[in-house]
Symmetry: C2
Subunit: 347 residues, 2 copies
DNA sequence: CTGAAAGCGCTAACAC
DNA sequence: GTGTTAGCGCTTTCAG
């Protein structure tokens, strides 16, 4: 009941030879038909397809990969977290990959593991992938420089910390979103905007921090000290207690919605009304954002657009190894104004 | 610059033969060492490992799979959604798989695609997986009966709608959680508990509905009509508007936290205070649950425990094909009581 | 348009 | 303990 050579009466799963025999053609012709190659007569094509169907034939991808050197699969390195951002991006990547005929292999990294991304990439390379997308990595202080990565790599959400043979560029566009959020607050008349940041080891947190700074500077606003969170609502709550004690804060940009929600709760408990006394903008537009109290003003991350755009570039690099990489394009900015923002209170 | 046989001066990536040559042993010995087989002298083992390291050797898994008939990877069929439940379960599965030496292949299904799960399973089979986990499927009216699945399948969150050669059982344990939630409300003194359900095509929604019914029946409480949602906060809000108009509702069990949050907002807007007038229990314990207004009483889903438990059983079935399947065990119940529940108002 | 031969890089039996 | 010999099921030349 173990391994059986197709030989004999054994009824193991059918091989392409079996299909060939049934269709009365050579094995190579089956291969041609199944790969959609040209120069196959309609008649033969139909017969082969019919035979394959009848047998319930399913191609062995290991053999295909071994012979062709390509696996038709792309690997994803992502964070082992259900945080809305990373999880949504992963789904977006899956969706973007699905219709391309590539399969997806997923490896998660663990926060705090210094070998994280490099190890994950290594394991993907070993499994055999034609391309890799690294989604929202964390800076663990290690580069992939010493890893010999010989496939294109797309890095989403990080500047470009990876040195690879086939660099593909990065993407994300958080700065536009952050600027929109900060600008919104400034336009409302706030003198400045405080920032509740994510953990600085996350590139995403750094990006938003930098973009917030830039927006403030462009407006000539002074830059208040940053309050640091860890993406969780609990950390937002803790930050909120501190911020509530400072009467000069009238506007806060939180680096994600969860923290914004925790922040708002702390503010409310401290008797500072949102948005009457303090305005708060979040980041992500999580599903419940419109239904919390007060409904949260936030910027929606265009996960699907980012994933699709990035994947298009990655596939281009895979399939046209010698061509120039496709230029990145900016994802759409979608500021969703709800009820957590308002002009500053009168003095 | 394309495909090169190791022959000649070409510097393609190293093969196990190259390692063998460098270590001065046969290729088979390299294979032995790398697979951790016994009966290899310490000296040889060290030399091989060193040579592999020096060359930056990485095993070709396609070849390994082709020769051995095993891919050492397990496939996951999941919903293409960032909903907290399915996404968390996926992460749990990845985490559970990671330390087992298996790789993960992920295929999403799309809601509304009748060929969904069967198609996804087929594509995984084609890629070659040693086992499959189907996570929280939706009933699309199609069974996998006609698919010849010759690997163990673990179904999480569905009764057991799949007929496979190696059925592995299902898991989830939603009924215990739901009963705890319903019971909590009943214990508080509510005469009955309304239910805001998920879409009935989801097995998870049906499970919770059935468990709620059972809990009510066990308590001798009357069963009010079910209000149906679609997991979204928006649908919870819509349901809330209807429920708010009925003064007899004093307690609601929502099938997930998002809907509970939308529900609470609608109730609040209608002037019905939570928990003073109406108590609400959610399901999942999403990250912001503790920070919305009021902090949400909910049951925490033990995603990691469910994933680990299920995977242990799946791997057992993979590695001991002739042994009896491991019996399922119930995951822990964790009712998190916060401020959205209270005794019913006095009449 | 179609077929025959020769591997892809590894593991499985068996010998030594 | 270690090496030899055959393939795994495809794709790739290169002939027809």
């Amino acid at each position: 009941m173990t391994r059986q050579t197709g030989r004999g009466a054994a009824s193991s799963t059918p091989r392409s030879v079996d299909v060939a025999r049934l269709a009365g053609v050579s094995q190579k012709t089956v291969s041609r038909v199944l790969n959609g190659e040209r120069y196959v007569s309609e008649d033969v094509r139909r017969r082969v397809l019919q035979a394959a169907e009848d047998l319930g034939y399913r191609m062995n991808n290991a053999a295909r990969a071994l012979a062709s050197g390509r696996t038709r699969s792309i690997g994803v390195v992502t964070l082992g977290t259900a945080l809305y951002g990373p999880a949504s991006l992963l789904m977006g990547i899956e969706r973007a990959v699905r219709d391309t005929g590539y399969a997806l292999r997923v490896v998660n990294t663990v926060e705090g593991d210094p070998a994280g991304v490099a190890g994950a990439v290594g394991s993907l390379l070993e499994q055999g992938v034609d391309g890799i997308v690294v989604s929202e990595p964390i800076d663990e202080g290690t580069s992939m420089a010493e890893l010999s990565v010989d496939v294109p790599v797309l890095v989403i959400g990080a500047p470009s910390p990876f040195a690879t043979a086939h660099p593909v560029t990065s993407g994300g566009g958080a700065d536009l979103l952050t600027r929109a959020a900060t600008q919104h607050l400034l336009d409302l008349g706030h003198l400045t905007v405080h920032h509740l940041s994510g953990p600085p080891r996350w590139f995403a947190a750094r990006d938003r921090l930098a973009a917030w700074r830039a927006a403030l500077a462009a407006h000539g606003a002074s830059e208040p000290p940053v309050v640091e969170g860890d993406w969780s609502a609990a950390s937002g709550y803790a930050a909120g207690r501190r911020l509530a004690a400072d009467p000069s804060v009238t506007a806060v940009f939180a680096a994600n919605d969860d923290m914004a929600i925790g922040l708002i709760r702390a503010l409310a408990e401290a008797g500072r009304r949102v948005p009457d006394d303090v305005s708060v903008v979040g980041f992500d537009d999580i599903p419940v954002a419109a239904y919390v109290t007060p409904p949260l003003t936030t910027v929606r991350q265009p996960f699907d657009a980012v994933a699709q755009e990035g994947l298009k570039r990655l596939l281009h690099a895979i399939e046209n190894p010698d061509a120039d990489p496709l230029p990145p394009s900016d994802p759409p900015v979608d500021l969703v104004v709800r009820s957590s923002t308002a002009p500053p209170p009168h003095r």
